[in-house]
């Protein structure tokens, strides 16, 4: 109930002077408030930045995030700078300062009213200004406006800093995964480079027809593109397997038998007593088209001076060679034609037959070149698959620590299917019994990686693939097929999978 009388004081002569006085009185308060605002906003920025950094680091522990630490540092810095910049930019106005001082000093809007009416010359406004200045004069900015941070902010800052330190110091389980991914990407890049290299080499091979070069190039390019997008080893292996399968489709399925037939015919011709025919056989065996042409032309010239009996004998030798080349119909037909024309002694027919033989030989040579290129590309893909598989195995082993017992994931005798080291159809083996990754998962076995000729040896006891002396393909297939049949009979493989495995080996046999 007490009624307080306002203080008496002398009114200034000019209201403008009073307004200036108010401005001057508020200036130091405003400066102090600005500093306090900068400090408080900066504190808030630091706390917000550290909190965001903690959040980012926490996220990086839940999901693989390369560069999370840099993002955390960036966010914290940006937050701090934003808060500081905002504090600098939004300097409190005089009106705002007056209001804040009113609140802090419980002046009941004296200062804010005085500031608003600083130019008013009404007596009561002058009195009000002086009253406000008198009340303000009782305090000093330094004593009222503290620059020390509040306790709650210090506590918050400490808590956030501790959490941040823990997040930085404790090992992040996702780092191992990130390293694995980086290693995988490096391997992938090197394998893509290798595939690109072989692609260029094949593109430069003139022995292959342009159409086949284009097809091989397309397959390899697609493989490279898909490999670049592969997220993990399984995808990469799938891409490589698909590319290998596509390359295999370009092969002539009869190429091997044709080559054998051609070799047999060549061998037969080379054994001839006729020097020109023998030279033709050798040229045919080596794929020397010029030599073959020369030898056949010489033979044609020689035939004109030969007796019918000699021609018949020569025709018989050629006929034998043609019979040896039955599995190569074009060559066999050409040789039959040559034998007949030699027997007849007709120069025109001989010339036509020679052309036919040369054409068949050239075709065989091209086919062999194509197959060779496909083998080369396929081998590169196989090497890539093996390299990626080995790197995946290594990283998986590292990721799983030491708990994996020897033989579970790497035991060559259990899960590695025969033929995987061949380099062409290296995939498709049954799943490893020890890794529990599902029945139909493909398992890849490292083959011979590196330069030089790939040599395959088969260990009949355990099916491992080792480098060593060359073993014929047919023998390897037969051994592996027998092992597979034994394994199928002695295991609990479902019947449909038994058929699948048997079909697989049957298909391999057909490629001999």
């Amino acid at each position: 109930m007490a009624t307080i009388a306002p203080s008496r004081h002398t009114a200034p002569s000019q209201s403008a002077a009073a307004g200036k006085g108010l401005t001057e009185a508020l200036r130091s308060w405003r400066r102090r408030l600005w500093i306090q605002q900068m400090l408080h906003w900066t504190e808030n920025g630091v706390i917000a930045g550290l909190t965001l950094a903690c959040l980012l680091l926490l996220i990086s522990r839940l999901t693989p995030w390369d560069g999370a630490i840099y993002w955390a540092v960036g966010v914290a810095t940006v937050s701090l700078l934003s808060a500081l910049g905002a504090a600098l930019w939004y300097r409190p106005s005089f009106a705002r300062s007056a209001h804040l001082v009113d609140t802090q000093l419980a002046l009941h809007d004296r200062l804010s009213t005085a500031w608003e009416l600083r130019t008013d010359s009404a007596p009561i406004s002058v009195l009000q200004r002086h009253d406000a200045l008198r009340q303000l004069g009782k305090h000093t900015p330094g004593a009222v406006i503290s620059l020390w941070p509040k306790r709650i902010r210090l506590i918050t800052f400490g808590a956030v800093a501790i959490v941040l330190a823990l997040l930085l110091l404790l090992p992040n389980p996702m780092n191992t995964l990130l390293k694995q991914q980086a290693a995988f990407q490096n391997q992938l890049a090197s394998q893509i480079a290798a595939i690109n290299q072989i692609r260029k080499e094949i593109d430069n091979q003139e022995a292959i027809s342009a159409q086949e070069r284009t097809q091989i190039d397309k397959i390899l390019r697609e493989a490279m593109n898909q490999l670049q997008q592969a997220k993990n080893g399984a995808q990469a292996q799938q891409v490589l397997a698909q590319a290998q399968a596509n390359l295999n489709q370009l092969r002539d399925p009869q190429a091997t038998s044709k080559a054998l037939a051609s070799a047999a015919a060549s061998s037969s011709l080379a054994k001839s007593s006729n020097a020109n025919l023998s030279a033709a056989g050798k040229a045919l065996a080596t794929g020397d088209s010029k030599g073959l042409d020369t030898a056949l032309q010489n033979l044609a010239s020689q035939i004109s001076s030969m007796t019918p009996a000699q021609r018949a004998q020569l025709a018989q030798q050629i006929e034998q060679s043609a019979n040896q080349a039955l599995n190569n119909p074009a060559l066999s037909s050409a040789l039959h034609q040559l034998a007949k024309s030699v027997a007849d002694g007709s120069p025109g027919e001989i010339s036509d037959a020679i052309n036919a033989v040369e054409t068949a030989a050239a075709h065989d040579s091209a086919t062999q070149a194509t197959n060779s290129s496909i083998d080369q590309a396929s081998q590169t893909l196989e090497n890539a698959a093996n390299t990626l598989a080995s790197s995946t195995d290594n990283t998986n082993s590292q990721a799983s620590g030491q708990s994996q017992t020897p033989g579970q994931g790497q035991n060559p005798g259990q899960g590695q299917a025969p033929g995987q080291g061949q380099g062409i159809n290296g995939s498709g083996g049954q799943n490893n019994a020890g890794n529990k990754q599902g029945k139909n998962e493909q398992v890849y076995v490292p083959g011979q990686v590196g330069s030089g000729t790939s040599t395959i040896t088969a260990n009949g006891d355990n099916g491992t693939v080792q480098s060593g002396s060359p073993v014929p393909y047919s023998q390897v297939i037969a051994q592996y097929q027998q092992m597979a049949h034994d394994a199928i009979d002695n295991s609990s493989i479902p019947p449909d999978l038994k058929d699948l495995i048997q079909g697989y080996y049957n298909s391999l046999e057909g490629q001999q």
Binding site: M1, T3, P6, A11, S13, S93, R110, T113, D120, L127
Partner: protein, 385 residues
């Protein structure tokens, strides 16, 4: 570097720096007829370039002195009702009428009578009853004998016999017991300070205050005041039961042989001057904005209204409520030793100024919600800019 706008207010669109005069344009209480050249017209502040207007420091000091003495006189006689006396003074110095609500025997009539004694003003008391007629309040025209100088006889003429409303302080005791027709007889006087009887409108004396009382308990046979009439009361003051120590003082002061009477503190002219002084108190823009927010928050259809208001209020306060906030806030500021109205003043006067202007809906009445609850919520939830 300072980019914070100091200019136009977001709520009113008024630039505070250009609004030099803190007059409240909405206030329409007509007391311009009051002469500023009273005994208190000392202009200490006229040294401001010689163009100063309004009250000076001496006026304000006189305001403080008179208000202090008046409050002291009232408190010495009416025991235990300090809050009521303060609110009564707020309304009196703001030039408004007061509705006192309380159970019988709390000293409402004594308070008003003591006030009239202290101010040496003409005081009338009207006991409102159901058979009270408007003419009993405003007066009536009667036939009287007048001497005729021309005929040396007398003649009958109609003369106006003023009713009890023609006084400075009118105590409308138990105003809700009269019929609405009779209650409405006060309307014109309260708002216009005039009374129209027949074809003549007669001014009421200045100052003119209506202090009405009503009993919240005995509601049977009463006619609750309509909203229009409630709105004309500047404040509604709740007279609460005194505390035990106050009751002890009541025994000492009222049951003894000594009869206390208030001494004269101020005249009617001085009171008018005090009212003029109070009106000159400046109000900052943000304080006005706060008053507007408080008022708007009483309206359930406003976005910023608290949830309770939306749920329990049928109608909010009228613009007269805003005038009441500002005017009584000015008086309170002076009484608190300040030359400016603060938001705290508004919050302090919000209860008596708004409680009779908030009309509850059925839910509010059924749930026992009181306007005081809502005003408290409004004050809590209305932020100060």
């Amino acid at each position: 570097m300072a980019k914070k706008s100091e200019g136009t207010s977001p709520l009113t669109g008024v630039n505070p720096t250009t609004e030099a005069q803190p007059e409240d344009p909405g206030v329409q209480i007509e007391n311009e007829a009051a002469t500023p050249s009273g005994p208190l017209s000392i202009k200490d502040g006229e040294g401001e370039g010689g163009e100063a207007e309004g009250p000076g420091e001496a006026d304000i000091q006189a305001f403080i002195d008179i208000a202090q003495r008046l409050e002291h006189e009232l408190c010495s006689i009416v025991v235990g009702q300090e809050q009521v006396i303060r609110e009564l003074l707020l309304a009196l110095l703001a030039g408004g009428h007061v509705l006192l609500e309380g159970v019988p025997g709390l000293g409402k009539t004594l308070l008003v009578r003591t006030l009239s004694d202290a101010l040496a003003l003409k005081f009338t008391r009207i006991q409102f009853t159901p058979d009270l007629m408007p003419a009993d309040i405003v007066g009536t025209t009667i036939v009287t004998e007048q001497s005729d100088s021309n005929s040396a006889g007398s003649r009958r003429v109609f003369t106006f016999q003023p009713g009890p409303i023609f006084a400075n302080i009118v105590l409308a005791d138990e105003v809700n017991r009269a019929t609405p027709k009779t209650q409405s007889a006060l309307l014109e006087g309260m708002q216009e300070h005039t009374v129209s009887v027949g074809d003549a409108t007669r001014p009421l004396p200045s100052p003119f205050f209506v202090m009405a009382t009503q009993n919240p308990l005995e509601m049977e046979g009463t006619y609750p005041l309509p909203e229009a009439q409630l709105d004309r009361f500047l404040l509604k003051v709740l007279v609460r039961f005194p505390l035990a120590r106050d009751l002890m003082r009541i025994i000492d002061t009222t049951v003894g042989t000594q009869t206390l009477r208030a001494g004269k503190v101020a005249s009617g002219e001085q009171l008018m001057q005090l009212m003029e002084t109070a009106r000159a108190v400046p109000v900052a823009t943000h304080v006005k904005e706060h008053a507007v927010r408080l008022l708007l928050a009483t309206h359930p259809d406003q976005e910023d209204a608290p949830e309770q208001v939306r749920k329990f209020v049928r109608y909010g306060a009228s613009p007269r409520g805003l005038q009441a906030l500002i005017m009584t806030g000015k008086v309170r500021a002076l009484l608190e030793g300040r030359y400016n109205v603060s938001t705290e003043d508004l919050q302090a006067v919000a209860f008596p100024a708004l409680r009779h202007r908030i009309i509850l809906n059925f839910d509010g009445l059924a749930d026992g919600i009181t306007p005081e609850d809502l005003i408290g919520t409004i004050i809590e939830e209305t932020e100060i800019s």
